[in-house]
């Protein structure tokens, strides 16, 4: 029983990381109606920005803000000078553009940092594990969960309680209507893409001490983020959060009974949910 509790706690922490990644993907999918195939590359950019700032002596908190900001800035540029110019074209063009952008970012990271990956030790106060009696819980995992929760709440406040947030929500629901109301939809889309990209970068920064970073390290996380996105429901921002936590806990619990199947399980869950309810757990469309 203790082990089950330990795995649930572990899964909640990991799930929060998945949720941060997937929330960014969900914002972009909702606003632009295009799957962001560069999300994994933006995750890697966030990880490398966090690494670079930490190695030059910046506090870890500053490095995480840098991870968000760096990826958000890159997302801003991708949308403004790429996606925005393809909006009138076919959906396939946007997908191909994002796919190509991901490859370009990966190769630039290789040119700058080489093919050998990097690691980062978290600050001393986040090192080691807490003895909960029934398990040792690494402090850094607790930190991951708290930062994940904090960033999700911050995005929730931004989207639910601010004017720009209401515009983003409206943009996701009724894009044409937002345009008719005189809101600059172009700027809205760019800001939304930057926000989503920033979330990917933040996830990369948070994950750095656990997963390390290399140019392609975001691809694994992107695959999970897509599963979470589909499971939570396309267009449902908070469905992504719930699904991220669900996947994290399910993956962790599977280790108790069928460890080899822990990766397989998340794809099985997605397939089953899609077969039973194609809208996902919380999707409205």
């Amino acid at each position: 029983m203790n082990l089950v509790a330990a795995q649930i706690v572990n899964g909640l922490a990991i799930g929060m990381l998945y949720a941060v990644m997937a929330l960014g993907l969900s914002i972009i999918k909702g606003l632009l109606n295009v799957p962001n195939f560069a999300h994994g590359a933006l995750f890697a950019v966030g990880a490398y920005v966090c690494y670079t700032l930490s190695t030059i002596g910046a506090p870890f908190a500053v490095a995480l803000i840098g991870a968000f900001s760096g990826a958000a800035l890159l997302g801003f540029l991708i949308e403004r000078f790429g996606i925005a110019n393809l909006t009138g074209g076919s959906y396939l063009l946007q997908v191909l553009f994002l796919f190509g952008t991901a490859l370009v970012i990966e190769q630039i990271l290789v040119l700058i940092y080489g093919t050998t990956g990097v690691s980062l030790v978290p600050p001393a106060m986040l090192g080691g594990a807490m003895d909960l009696g029934f398990m040792f819980l690494p402090r850094y995992l607790v930190f991951c969960a708290l930062v994940g929760a904090f960033s999700i709440v911050a995005v929730w406040l931004l989207i639910e309680k601010t004017r720009i947030g209401s515009s983003i929500r409206a943009g996701i629901e009724r894009r044409e209507m937002v345009q008719c109301l005189g809101i600059d939809i172009g700027t809205l889309l760019t800001l939304g893409f930057a926000l989503g990209a920033g979330m990917a970068g933040l996830a990369g920064g948070i994950a750095l001490p656990l997963l390390g970073a290399n140019a392609t390290s975001g691809n694994d996380m992107m695959a999970i983020a897509f599963v979470v996105l589909v499971l939570g429901g396309l267009g449902s921002l908070y469905g992504a959060v719930a699904a991220g936590i669900l996947i994290g806990v399910a993956q962790s619990l599977t280790t108790l009974v069928a460890p080899s199947a822990s990766t397989l399980l998340i794809y099985v869950i997605m397939t089953v949910v899609l077969l039973i309810g194609p809208k996902g757990l919380f999707g409205e469309r």
Partner: protein
């Protein structure tokens, strides 16, 4: 210019530009008495550096004998297998058909090497493999494939021998194993070797290849209070596992890995993450033998670097093949393969032999202890060589059907 717009010269230029002339040129060289040997490795993608390092080792072996053997000029042909079995097989087939290649070494990947071994057996080409699978010298052994890397049995037993020596009171071992042939081999041999050394296997988890999240496995492992966590996994999986294990800040649990990564790969980890890690290795530049000292000096002079596993593999395998050619007084692959069976030589490992039936190179396996951060003199100073062992795989555990 002909009426159709093509001239003989333009066709030849086009052929030369497309590389179609190269195989014909190589054939002409071979026919004239040159010896074409091949190096198939990864030269593109994220692991392109691996191919470069293997090439450096091969170059030192060729330069050592002035690019000649038995009065023939040696031509080293390089091909990129992209780390993919199908590509490796295709490139090797092309080399055999167009350049009469009869000797090759290749990728450190067992999957690529085993696929190529089928061609080696069929076309009677000597292959000196560097992968970790025990199938090269076991179930898929053949008269032309030889194995340079140590047997996974030797790797497991040597690593556990060191753990026993360094930690006499350690008892309970928990294993985390990657769920494919390589991990299964290591687990099988760990289960053989551990009880003989007085260890009790407290549990095992199989993890899927490419797993990135390991804390759930370590929660399970730590629940049974092991003295040793033995990581039977490799490459980026191993590095991710070590990163996450280090986040627990464990002081009393010994972490060991019989066959997980080469020292170069450990540079991905911070010194704090790898401190105290016990790591089994196929090669270490500080091996104190005459052949290795000369090789290290040559590498330092030629490339200003300490040799790594990949470089040593290429150097030592080609060097052994050349020694066998001299002994056979022939470059015929069958004659050379027969000489290599049971051959005794001084290699980078010191006195070395090749098993006549399985073709396993009987050589030592090495154990390193990663240094504490404040003990490192520089970025290269990652670990000390602390132990070596050479216990061969017991005959009863070998599945090679050759007699």
């Amino acid at each position: 210019m002909t009426p159709s717009g093509f001239s003989r010269r333009s066709v030849l230029q086009a052929l030369a530009a497309s590389g179609c002339v190269a195989p014909g040129f190589a054939w002409a060289q071979a026919a004239a008495g040159d010896l074409n040997i091949a190096l198939l490795s990864q030269n593109s993608g994220n692991f392109a550096t691996h191919g470069e390092v293997v090439f450096k080792g091969a170059t030192i072996a060729l330069e050592e004998r002035g690019h000649t053997i038995l009065g023939r000029k040696i031509n080293l042909l390089r091909r990129d297998d992209e780390g993919k079995p199908a590509i490796g097989v295709r490139r090797l087939t092309e080399l055999v058909e167009t350049s009469q290649v009869k000797f090759f070494i290749g990728n450190a990947s067992s999957a690529v090497g085993l696929a190529e071994s089928e061609i080696a057996a069929r076309e009677k080409i000597v292959q000196y493999a560097g992968g970790g699978s025990d199938e090269f010298t076991g179930a898929r052994c053949n008269p032309y494939t030889f194995q340079w890397s140590a047997s996974p049995y030797t790797a497991s037993s040597t690593t556990l021998e060191y753990v026993r020596k360094a930690h006499p009171n350690a008892k309970r071992v928990y294993t985390l194993t990657v769920d494919y042939a390589f991990g299964h081999s290591l687990l099988k041999y760990t289960r053989e070797a551990a009880p003989e050394l007085g260890f009790e296997l407290a549990g095992n988890d199989m993890h899927p290849l490419g797993e990135r999240q390991y804390t759930q496995y370590f929660n399970k492992a730590l629940a049974v209070k092991p003295d040793v966590i033995l990581l039977l996994t490799a490459g980026s999986d191993f590095l991710a596992a070590v990163r996450q294990l280090s986040s627990y800040g464990l002081k009393k649990v010994i972490v060991a890995a019989p066959w997980a990564a080469e020292l170069d790969e450990l540079k991905e980890l911070t010194p704090q993450m790898r401190a105290g890690l016990i790591l089994g290795l196929n090669y270490h530049s500080s091996i104190n033998t005459p052949v290795n000292k000369a090789f290290v000096a040559a590498a330092a002079k030629r490339y200003q670097m300490l040799p790594t596993y990949a470089m040593a593999y290429a150097y030592d395998t080609f060097r052994t093949i050349f020694l066998a050619m001299e002994k056979a007084k022939s470059v015929d692959s069958t004659a050379v393969a027969r000489v290599m069976e049971g051959m005794q030589l001084d290699s980078v490992h010191g006195p070395t032999s090749i098993d006549a039936r399985t073709h396993q190179t009987n050589r030592p396996y090495y154990v390193c202890l990663c240094k504490q951060p404040d003990a490192q003199k520089n970025d290269q100073d990652i670990a000390d060589l602390v132990f070596q062992g050479d216990k061969p795989q017991p005959a009863a555990l070998n599945q090679c059907s050759r007699t």
